[in-house]
Symmetry: C2
Subunit: 315 residues, 2 copies
């Protein structure tokens, strides 16, 4: 009878996942933590699941999508900023030479982010990102960027929420960039998004008191920063964590290294046909330490090619 | 028919509030924002209400309750810290001379907070606060500190949540101090608490990776810091804000200075019999600018003596 019931559940939950050990492990975890007669039952207030964004909930190739936003912003606004062409990084971007622009490393990336994210009010920035996501297309697939989300993950997050879980994004990407579209795209409200942030101030703009984003880093939500971001924003150790790169290692470690039921999951990019195949040698989403230690840490490795029936919502 | 319906609602909602303009204004605001046929209807995802804590949700006299926690912590742990007696502020606290201890102003207060809040893991700090709140009594009332919450505000927050609102605390007090007891006391989970914070790091303690609170201020959530804290944590402009002091002025301003239905509320401490009466000349919860401008800003002034049937849950 138990196994019959289990079959029924597997048929109705996670229909975009192929039957197999990954799907089974996730469903079993949810069932045992939500069944009040189970020794692993977790009260609803402690059912916290955290998700990395780039490469875990949507694609991240050939570069992080937020960088496309920044580049498009810089090109669009360059007529009002003749001084940008004196900056080698920005000049390269205006000349469509991304390789040269990124040669400056972290300093160049910071310059790109600051001119395209700071100086705006929160409302201006949100509008700017929403306009961009409505009108821009990915250079390789021609899809809207928010159509390059992973449907099996969206379905999983819905399944978790129906099971009394709270779903949070914990991303190295910009918190306000993600907030601008996460509710519509993933069903995750702004206050359940954790990410990297700029400092901000409350000041008068156009006769109205507003929040203005400043050109100074407030918090970098990556690697050991992820548990810190979770602590500051969520204030509770999650019981499930999903990531795809070594930047998520500490988040999975923090989540799973505590008593009680815990599940750490790496999404492994194995699908060169429907998406991209990469791990150890990739510029984005590099996964080395995570691959080496997933098994000994008891973490699940989801094989995108084998475990997912579809990748994007409209293949 | 409309007025009949309105009478029925007033009889079942906010029973700890006396009938009158304050109760009426709050209920009318909730009704018009939740009635889908109203021109002021607000979709559930935008129904964000923010509450200051000290003096708005619980008492704050003779000093902020968090200071009692800090003092008790310092006394309890002084045997292991002989060096504390070389510090004039800490020495005064150990000698029960609070006046001398606080003469050092903000610097003294920071010292008190750092030795009593930093250096612990998040789990140690949470346990320490929970133990304290279970065992300590207010020096004047003899009540447990979490019995000095304002029952009409707790009832109001429940009413808002039943009406599809999310209730957030936005306090100048310590975020982790409040999180330790807010869920049990107010029904507000840790991720819906915004407050002042120390920096934190993810590091190995006792062979386990943990969050440790550092002796360095991360964010001060008061005055113009409150809209910034709301922006960083909630990412959405609230539509209702409740405060009691000039430290909440910018939060009420930020909340109400935007199109659409908005409600700013000051809890005015007018009840010297059941609680405390103070505003312009108080050391805690000083309210000057708020009193001067509440009317012109269209903010509601709740008169604790007149508007509330009871103050504490068990009078
Ligand atoms: Ca990632
Ligand atoms: Ca207050």
């Amino acid at each position: 009878y138990d196994s019959l019931e289990s079959v029924v559940v597997e048929e109705t939950a996670l229909t975009s996942w192929n039957d197999g050990p990954s799907k089974q492990k996730i469903i079993q975890f949810v069932e045992k933590t939500t069944d009040s007669s189970s020794p692993d039952f977790v009260p609803e207030s402690k059912r916290i699941a955290v998700f990395d964004n780039d490469g875990t909930l949507w694609a991240e190739n050939p570069v992080y999508f937020q960088l496309f936003y920044a580049i498009d912003f810089i090109k669009k606004h360059s007529p009002g900023h003749p001084e940008w062409s004196a900056n080698p990084t920005l000049k390269a971007i205006l000349e469509d030479d991304l390789q040269t622009a990124l040669e400056g490393g972290e300093k160049a990336l910071a310059e790109i982010v600051m001119v395209s994210h700071a100086g705006m009010t929160e409302d201006q920035f949100t509008s700017s990102v929403r306009d961009w996501i409505k009108t821009s297309k990915h250079p390789q697939t021609g899809k809207a960027f928010n159509q390059m989300i992973y449907y099996p993950m969206v379905e999983l997050m819905e399944y978790l929420r129906e099971s009394g879980y709270k779903t949070f994004i914990v991303s190295g990407g910009g918190i306000d960039f993600i907030r601008a579209w996460a509710e519509e795209t993933y069903g995750i409200p702004p206050y359940q998004v954790v990410g990297s942030s700029l400092k901000a101030e409350y000041t008068e703009v156009d006769g109205k008191n507003q929040i203005v984003k400043l050109p100074e880093l407030n918090f970098y939500d990556d690697k050991a920063g992820k548990p810190v971001g979770i602590h500051q924003h969520i204030g509770e150790r999650p019981i499930m964590a999903f990531g795809n790169s070594d930047g998520d290692y500490e988040m999975l470690e923090y989540t799973t290294q505590s008593p009680g039921p815990r599940l750490g999951v790496y999404i492994h990019h194995t699908d060169s046909i429907r998406e991209y195949a990469y791990d150890r040698n990739s510029l984005v989403g590099q996964l080395v330490r995570g691959l080496d230690n997933a098994e000994s840490n008891g973490w699940l490795l989801v094989d995108m090619a084998k475990d997912w029936k579809i990748v994007y919502p409209n293949p």
